[in-house]
């Protein structure tokens, strides 16, 4: 008997919207989403995640939820960040299709039907592309362009705008992705690790009306580090020994070459040993380091084997469902 991956979804559509201090945007956001979603004639839910807002966001959400049974609110105890908020939303979602969007009204709910249409063409993830971004050029658009180029080349996922929150996913894919840290920026890459087919469509983008933007430039370093991690994971998650082993071999070769060099000096050029003391230490250092990296690789192999057995199994299962 072939077991299939969670095929029972109660609803057709789940909308995931993380909010953090967006009291001015709550009501207009709700109304604009409602207008679009009602027209789709699908069963749906709208999940708001209040990421520890300190303003009236939660009270306003609660008020809306009393009148609309499609609304679900997840209130966090503190501010845990966008990745955590989206993770909570994805986990709670009951829809066959899950759509995420920003809570700042910069995304346009009017694009939702287009996302769904693209998804129906046979994709697993459809990402929005804010072709005409309405943000400050220097602090938002330029860094975003560079980041996208970088993410694109590292992850090999060809998207113009990975940072756009407006995305649609098949539940089978998004339920398998665990977001933590600041990984929400890399959902398409994570989806690719899970074997998803990814597409993008151009979406509208509005300038911010209320509240202030919650991004800053100082995150660049973290993004680079996350990207390094992702690059490493995408290439070596199932064969870490190849990565660490390569470093080990490199160091060992360097060590042996150095030893050879020392031998030449001693035997051919008749250098006194005392002059080569430092070089000898360097050679041994390189060799010791090289051996260590092999052990790193072995330990990491163990970690991956104990950690991912379940994941691999699910992955194959998903493909067989296809």
């Amino acid at each position: 008997m072939k077991s299939t991956v969670e095929t029972n979804y109660n609803l057709e559509l789940s909308l995931i919207i993380p909010l953090y201090n967006e009291e001015d945007n709550v009501k207009p956001l709700y109304l604009s989403i409602k207008k679009v979603v009602e027209k789709l004639r699908k069963s749906y839910e709208i999940i708001f995640i209040d990421d520890g807002s300190t303003d009236k966001t939660f009270t306003l959400l609660e008020k809306i939820s009393r009148e609309d049974k499609h609304i679900k609110i997840i209130k966090f105890r503190g501010n845990f960040g966008q990745s955590a908020a989206m993770a909570a939303g994805f986990e709670a979602a009951q829809g066959r299709v899950v759509i995420s969007m920003d809570g700042d009204l910069q995304n346009d709910p009017q694009d939702i039907p287009n996302l769904l249409q693209k998804l129906d063409e046979g994709y697993d993830v459809v990402s929005g592309w804010r072709k005409n971004r309405k943000d400050k050029f220097l602090v938002r658009k330029i860094p975003s362009k560079i980041a996208n180029k970088l993410i694109c080349s590292v992850t090999k996922v060809k998207l113009h705008d990975t940072g756009c929150s407006l995305k649609a996913y098949r539940a089978e894919i998004i339920k398998r992705i665990t977001l933590y840290g600041e990984l929400h920026r890399f959902i398409p890459a994570l989806a690719k690790i899970e074997g998803a087919k990814i597409a993008e469509i151009v979406v509208n983008h509005h300038p911010r009306k209320f509240g202030k933007s919650k991004y800053n430039l100082t995150r660049t370093f973290k993004v680079i580090m996350d990207l390094t991690t992702l690059n490493f994971l995408m290439k070596y998650l199932h064969k870490p020994l190849q990565f660490f082993g390569a470093i080990g071999i490199l160091l060992n070769v360097l060590g042996i070459v150095t030893l050879f060099w020392i031998a030449c000096r001693l035997l051919i050029y008749k250098f006194p040993v005392i002059q080569l003391n430092i070089l000898i230490t360097v050679a041994f250092l390189l060799l010791a380091g090289g051996v260590q990296f092999f052990f790193f690789g072995l330990v990491t192999d163990l970690i991956v084997e104990t950690g991912t057995r379940k994941r691999l199994y699910l992955l194959e299962n998903y493909r067989s469902v296809e």
């Binding site: 909570a88 994971l233 002059q275 430092i278």
Partner: protein, 324 residues
């Protein structure tokens, strides 16, 4: 043996006090009597659980005498010394109260001040940590503690004066969400605050008398290592590469710089480098740097493969999910 009707009446106490003890036979009586008197005066139903963390003196005998007399008390004897964190965990599992008072017998706090902590908890906090003031233990202890807390204040967002005081009151739900192992009992306020709980502090007096002195330099060294724990808990626990990648990158850059300099020096025939200690330094730095980055990547890999089991967020409330 406890009689049946007395155990019935304390089945669901509101307050559970967890007191951990290690080789404190002289203080047992005093801790018990002042704590039970204080809690009686406070007026809520309570229970006291003593955890004997593998004492080798008469602590357990004294405790069992108390437990025989007073049905509100319970004694848990560990098979050997497993440490504070495990003791708290064992205490937590053996109690039922919604409000937990935890303190370690070692710090000799004055239980009379506990109601003040409870008041502050009621005022809307999820955890109140005692701030030992005035302190009566040794000068050296105080200086080390001051310095430690000063550093912790600067690293973490919490502005506490005595983060590892060893006395706190909190709600059961808070402690149940916090990982308790190793040395983490020293950082319960930080862990709670990271889960989004409100943390406050309140002054609590210390009793005069003899204090167990730290007999080893090891224990002060431990404080230093604890600071590294705090850094990780505060910032990088889910993203080891953010920290190790940064430090590693500095090492790599400096190491590379040295090696490039030496390379140029050699190539343009300024002289030999085989005997220069700088060469050793350059190679060493480069290698430590690469190692740090590698360990960071291994950390990331561990977290990535186990991410499904870790929840980074703490939900306070869900609205709109009816049972259907």
């Amino acid at each position: 043996m406890k009689s049946q009707h007395t155990t019935e009446s304390v089945k669901f106490p509101k307050i559970s006090a967890i007191v951990t003890l290690l080789n404190l036979e002289d203080s047992v009586e005093q801790i018990y009597s002042s704590l039970s008197q204080t809690l009686e005066a406070y007026g809520e139903d309570f229970e006291i659980v003593f955890i004997d963390d593998g004492s080798v003196d008469g602590t357990f005998t004294k405790l069992s005498q108390i437990a025989d007399k007073d049905a509100r008390t319970k004694v848990i004897k560990m098979r050997s010394t497993f440490g504070e964190a495990s003791a708290v965990d064992a205490g937590l599992k053996a109690t039922r109260g919604d409000i937990i008072i935890y303190f370690t017998g070692r710090v000799r706090i004055d239980p009379k001040d506990i109601p003040a902590l409870l008041q502050k908890l009621k005022a809307g906090n999820d955890l109140v940590i005692g701030w030992r003031s005035p302190r009566r233990d040794s000068r050296l202890n105080q200086v080390v503690s001051k310095l430690f807390n000063y550093i912790v204040r600067n690293i973490s967002k919490l502005k506490l004066h005595d983060v590892n005081s060893g006395i706190l009151v909190t709600k059961r739900s808070v402690l149940e969400r916090i990982p308790l192992y190793g040395n983490l009992n020293n950082f319960i306020p930080l862990l709670a605050s990271r889960q989004g709980y409100n943390v406050a502090e309140e002054k609590i007096g210390q009793l005069a008398g003899t204090f167990r002195q730290s007999r080893y330099v090891k224990e002060y060294l431990q404080r230093f290592l604890d600071i590294i724990t705090v850094i990780f808990l505060s910032n990088y626990s889910k993203k080891p590469l953010h920290f190790l990648g940064f430090v590693g990158a500095i090492f790599v850059i400096v190491g590379l710089g040295i090696n490039i300099y030496l390379f140029i020096y050699r190539i343009f025939q300024f002289g030999g480098i085989a005997g220069r200690p700088l060469l050793l330094l350059g190679v060493l730095l480069l290698m430590i740097g690469i190692q740090m980055i590698s360990i960071g990547l291994i950390g990331e890999m561990i977290i990535f493969t186990h991410a499904g089991e870790i929840k980074e967020y703490n939900i306070e409330k869900i609205i709109g999910y009816s049972g259907e």
